[in-house]
């Protein structure tokens, strides 16, 4: 993949920037290329949505940014956070950043709090770890402050996790993530386990975060409605790669990549008359398809798509996509042979060869 030039924006530079980031993890079949050459940046106070089907690598990307990966996984490429080279920090330095500067909100709030510890103990532990010698009153004051923002009454400060509902526990998790005012938060499907009303509440809280905390947020979800509601920009991920990224409204109104288009078509809304779905299943990330990873399922696939990796190109205003078809309609010249529609049978034979 080629390194893309970044359109410098008017406000101060990005909080976090990934260049050709790869996160692979080990299995007995060989490495799974869960994140395979991904480049993007997040600015201060910005919410970047990350969408894609299950298993496309979006959770791995989120964890990879925080440095919270299972044994046997490895990161490669460049990852810069506020001028720090995250991939070349020691384990200890990375740990010190987690909590204070980098934080994570998880999918399952019910199991993320230690059942044997009171809420107060969770806050004390977090604050004491990162701010040595902090007084008990200070811990209490700051914890209650962030709990208030999340709408948890101070009377519940000394309760145990099991005494809270799912939605409240997710708000507790957010409070716990924010008590140290981190600059960058990854929220991995924070509302998937919650019911719709609570979901709306949590999304509102996340959306309003930047006002109170000036936090940048990577919001991982498979729900396009949430992106439209809460995010400034959106990145669409497929088979370990970001296929399209840009302003949320621009991407949703004028998708450049066929995958984004199909994804949008397959969502259900009030005006939906029939169900659309994308044929086939996401590819095996141990041995991803050649060329564009989406070509076996793509309705617009051309011969070139199966042979050469598409190039990540800016289609104006930082709206980037990696797709030969999009390039073609933007005026890129391709040979007759390259443009010919892909015949699926040929691929099957080629695959066997």
């Amino acid at each position: 993949m080629t390194v893309v030039e970044h359109s410098a924006h008017e406000d101060d530079g990005p909080v976090l920037e990934a260049r050709d980031l790869r996160v692979w993890y080990a299995t007995d079949r060989g490495p799974v290329r869960a994140v395979d050459g991904v480049s993007f940046q997040i600015r201060r106070g910005e919410i970047l949505g990350l969408v894609g089907e299950s298993g496309c690598g979006k959770s791995t990307l989120g964890r990879g940014l925080i440095g919270l990966l299972p044994d046997g996984s490895a990161r490669d490429g460049e990852l810069e956070f506020q001028g720090l080279d995250l991939l070349h920090l020691s384990a200890r330095e990375q740990r010190d950043l987690r909590g204070t500067d980098l934080a994570m909100i998880f999918q399952e709030p019910l199991t993320r709090l230690n059942p044997l510890m009171r809420i107060s103990e969770h806050f004390e532990e977090t604050l004491r770890t990162h701010e040595k010698g902090i007084s008990k009153d200070e811990v209490r004051r700051r914890s209650l402050e962030v709990l208030r923002v999340m709408g948890i009454p101070p009377t519940r400060y000394r309760a145990y996790p099991h005494e809270f509902s799912g939605g409240m526990r997710q708000r507790l998790m957010i409070a716990l993530a924010l008590v140290l005012r981190p600059a960058f938060v990854v929220a991995d499907e924070p509302t998937t386990a919650l019911d719709v009303l609570v979901e709306a509440q949590i999304i509102r809280i996340l959306h309003d975060l930047r006002r109170e905390y000036d936090t940048s947020l990577l919001l991982i979800t498979h729900n396009l409605g949430i992106i439209a509601e809460a995010c400034d920009r959106v990145a669409v991920m497929y088979a370990g790669e970001i296929v399209e990224i840009g302003d949320a409204t621009a991407v949703f109104s004028h998708p450049k990549h066929p995958y984004t288009r199909e994804l949008l078509r397959s969502t259900i809304s009030l005006s939906t008359t029939g169900l659309n779905y994308i044929d086939g299943a996401p590819p095996d990330l141990v041995e991803p398809p050649s060329g564009c990873h989406f070509h076996p399922r793509c309705p617009d696939a051309m011969r070139i798509c199966a042979e050469r990796d598409p190039v990540d190109r800016d289609h104006g205003d930082g709206h980037r996509a990696a797709c030969w078809a999009a390039d073609l309609s933007d005026g890129l010249s391709l040979s007759e042979d390259e443009r010919a529609p892909l015949e699926r049978e040929e691929i099957a034979v080629a695959d066997e060869a």
Partner: protein
């Protein structure tokens, strides 16, 4: 500490748990009665039938109430047990409660000593194996666990005796005290170790303690195998816990993550299962006592079994059942104190 409602629900939980003992006890007592009174026939004939005339047997049966209808005997048995009356032995005409008082102390110090040793060594070893999973250290600790589990406790005891006799001939290998010490120390509590301490002579205390070492070590090894296995599996499982990852995401130091998040949560199921090992401990104690000629309840049980004294066996087995039930309640209460979810 805990809020008003919290301690209230804790008390309620304990209350319910204690009430549940009654049906449990009843089932066990009925089982014991059916097995040892209904199934085998007349206990007097079995025990002393060859020594007494039919008239004398009938008289003994009448004395012990064995000529009454079985259902009446059953009701009386339950009633007596409720008043801690476990019957009177046929062979030596002693109340079973006296036997328990005289010999229970030796079993108590043996099992407690073994238990403390097993927990003190087994928990850290299990934890280490769990943390260093799949390393040579883990493999070594696991093999040790399997071998201590696979080796019959009495064989381990015998081999230890053989070793000690060879390399440390002065070390005591049987009994709870040297005959002189046993004779000197006045009996107050019927617990030899406590009596020796009360007696106050350093030599006597050392002697009794020395006698405890081999049996406690042997019985402890049996429990240790179970504990190592259990702690290891639970630590591995707890390390995969969602809250452990969440704690790492907050930048909590690895040592603290393991101590406060993984290990503490791993211990909750461990407490329950260790508590269930009372049964195993009692089984092991019977064998250990026979191996080291230890004057405890296991030895008493074997003596009465060989004398075919059904009443004594029934009384002792009843007592064991009560101990098991009481300990299981205690374990549940400790569990509730440790884990706030239980009392919820």
């Amino acid at each position: 500490m805990s809020s008003g409602s919290g301690s209230g629900s804790l008390l309620k939980y304990i209350g319910i748990r204690v009430l549940l003992v009654i049906p449990m006890m009843w089932v066990l007592l009925t089982l014991v009665f059916i097995l040892l009174r209904v199934a085998p026939g007349d206990p007097v004939t079995a025990a002393v039938g060859d020594k007494l005339s039919p008239a004398a047997i009938a008289q003994r049966q009448h004395q012990l109430g064995l000529d009454k209808p079985l259902i009446q005997q059953y009701v009386e048995y339950i009633g007596h047990v409720c008043r801690f009356d476990f019957g009177t032995t046929i062979t030596d005409k002693e109340p079973v409660l006296t036997v328990i008082r005289d010999q229970g102390g030796a079993t108590l110090t043996l099992t407690l000593g073994a238990f403390l040793f097993a927990v003190a060594v087994g928990v850290p070893l299990g934890r280490l194996a769990g943390r260093r999973r799949d390393t040579a250290l883990d493999a070594g600790i696991r093999v040790f666990g399997v071998v201590t589990y696979a080796a019959p406790i009495f064989w381990v005891g015998i081999m230890l005796v053989a070793l000690v006799i060879k390399f440390l001939p002065s070390w005591p290998t049987f009994g709870i005290a040297s005959p002189v010490v046993a004779f000197e120390v006045p009996t107050k509590t019927h617990i030899m170790l406590v009596d020796a301490v009360l007696y106050g002579h350093g030599d006597a205390i050392t002697d009794v303690l020395k006698h405890h070492v081999l049996p406690c070590f042997t019985l402890g090894l049996l429990l240790m195998g179970v504990i190592i296995r259990l702690v290891r599996v639970n630590v591995i499982q707890a390390m995969k816990g969602d809250y452990v990852e969440a704690a790492r995401a907050r930048g909590i130091k690895e040592g603290r993550v393991i101590r406060k998040h993984a290990f503490r949560n791993a211990l909750v199921p461990v407490i329950t299962v260790i508590g269930l090992q009372v049964a195993l401990t009692l089984s092991g104690a019977v064998l250990t006592e026979r191996t080291f000629n230890w004057p405890g309840l296991g030895t008493a049980l074997i003596t009465y079994l060989n004398g075919r004294d059904y009443i004594a066996v029934q009384g002792l087995v009843t007592f064991f059942a009560i101990v098991v039930v009481i300990v299981s309640v205690l374990v549940d209460i400790i569990n509730a104190l440790v884990d706030p979810r239980v009392r919820y």
